[in-house]
Symmetry: C2
DNA sequence: GCTATGCGTTCCACTCAGCGAGACGACGGT
DNA sequence: ACCGTCGTCTCGCTGAGTGGAACGCATAGC
């Protein structure tokens, strides 16, 4: 019997329940049948039945035309997460100014090793379709915000991320440790991170970290646009200013 | 032994776990110690210890200066909830126009009987401090959005909400069934709901429902401002237009 | 200095909640 | 008539979950 588990987090009721909830990440299909849900989450059908029932009465799941979907309660709880609530509210006006001034897509993101999670996003009509989404993830090493965050992160987390596999997102994604490490050093010295079609074709991006008193990044702001339409260096000053003001307000 | 329970939703591992997460609703204190958490959620300390440990490795909870807080994963999952994701994205540009045109605070909310849950909120510098928050709840009968939603809801849910206790939020909150019922009839005929200091002192509000093909409300839009500064009737036309356009896009 | 309080953590025996193979009835398509 | 898939329910087994009690360690009060 190799049930010696110390796998905290996959088995156990909670693990199964979160598997059920996470099954909605493979998205777009808003409503999922119970059987399909059980299949995706990898739990037995009767188990899924029982758990889903409980999740429904807790409000984390709800019935909707012929299937189950994530419930409002999940959204409510999500809005309470401190790392996004305060930051987002404080940053919103600054992001709007930056958005107006640049006319390009603006992002606010935090590091969640080895990924970044987007807290806010302001798009324009003419903006390219970047693959980011509020609440969505992207590999940190493939995005400007990610590089800004990594460059100003603690030694340990940087090491940890660098030690993992650097997934290739586009043909230009930096996947070699040495190259990335050198670039991060440059970013730390310069205070601005760049990205040229490393997360999406035709998109360039510049990002600045929002730092606390000790100089550690707690978030990052970015501006992205079409590679042939946006003059990166023209937006950097405004970007720097935005990040500095946010840093001051959170020192 | 009165463990005759069939109380699905309060006991059971999941119930306890959600109690832990919900303990963060009594908010502002971003970080909570384990003991405090156990106390609030009403679970034994060792149990809280174990569950919190699992929740941490699942990403739903995280350690932060001397305490626990809700984890990023919760935010990520919350952004996947279909009832908010689609609506919010689609509504955003319209809300921005309405916000610019009126200069007042704009809300987007859905019905979650017997409350309303706010999906989006656009505020101005000079706006009154309304007690709403994205992802927050308010009793439906005390708000303009709530009345718009209730008036255009199915008979059953309206009955259900009316059957419950109508909590008094301010001195002017409508707490009498008959009065509310009559008002809802008027709202259904008129298509606009009003509110005069029924949810917050000094604040007036007007709301219109976003309806599906069958005429049932799926959301509501509102404009609110200072009672002595905002001319309610001046913003109603733009409000109506916004709600109509949204309704058309979701018919 | 010696309590007293509150924290996070660990232990452990009890038992009951959770588990899933399997069976079942209801649709719906071909 | 068939077959596939849906949601639901039963039921015996067992091990995952439970919480009282005790521990080690801080800090605060006297």
């Amino acid at each position: 019997m190799r049930s010696t588990q110390r796998d905290d987090g996959r088995n156990s009721v909670l693990g199964r329940a979160v598997s059920l909830l996470s099954a909605f990440e493979s998205d777009d299909d808003r409503c999922v049948t119970l059987s399909e849900l059980a299949r995706r989450a990898g739990v037995a059908k009767p188990t899924a039945h029982r758990l889903a029932g409980q999740l429904v009465s807790l409000g984390l799941l709800e019935h909707g035309d012929g299937g189950l979907r994530l419930g409002m309660r999940v959204f409510e709880l999500g809005q309470l997460v401190p790392r996004q609530r305060g930051l987002r509210d404080a940053a919103r006006p600054y992001l709007e100014d930056l958005h107006r001034a640049s006319g390009e897509t603006v992002h606010l993101a935090v590091l969640e090793p080895p990924d970044v999670v987007y807290l806010d996003k302001l798009t324009s009509r003419a903006a390219p379709a970047v693959p980011s989404r509020i609440g969505g993830r992207m590999p940190a090493h493939a995005t400007a915000v990610g590089k800004a965050l990594l460059a100003h992160a603690s030694e340990e987390v940087r090491e940890a991320v660098l030690a993992g596999t650097l997934e290739r997102v586009t043909g230009r994604t930096v996947v070699m440790r040495g190259v990335l490490l050198r670039e991060l050093r440059r970013v730390r010295a310069d205070g601005v991170a760049h990205e040229y079609e490393e997360s999406a074709k035709g998109v360039v991006c510049a990002a600045c970290p929002v730092v606390d008193g000790a100089g550690t990044a707690i978030a990052a702001v970015s501006v992205s646009g079409w590679v042939n339409r946006m003059q990166v260096e023209r937006v950097v000053p405004a970007l720097r200013t935005t990040a500095l003001m946010l840093s001051r307000q959170w020192g």
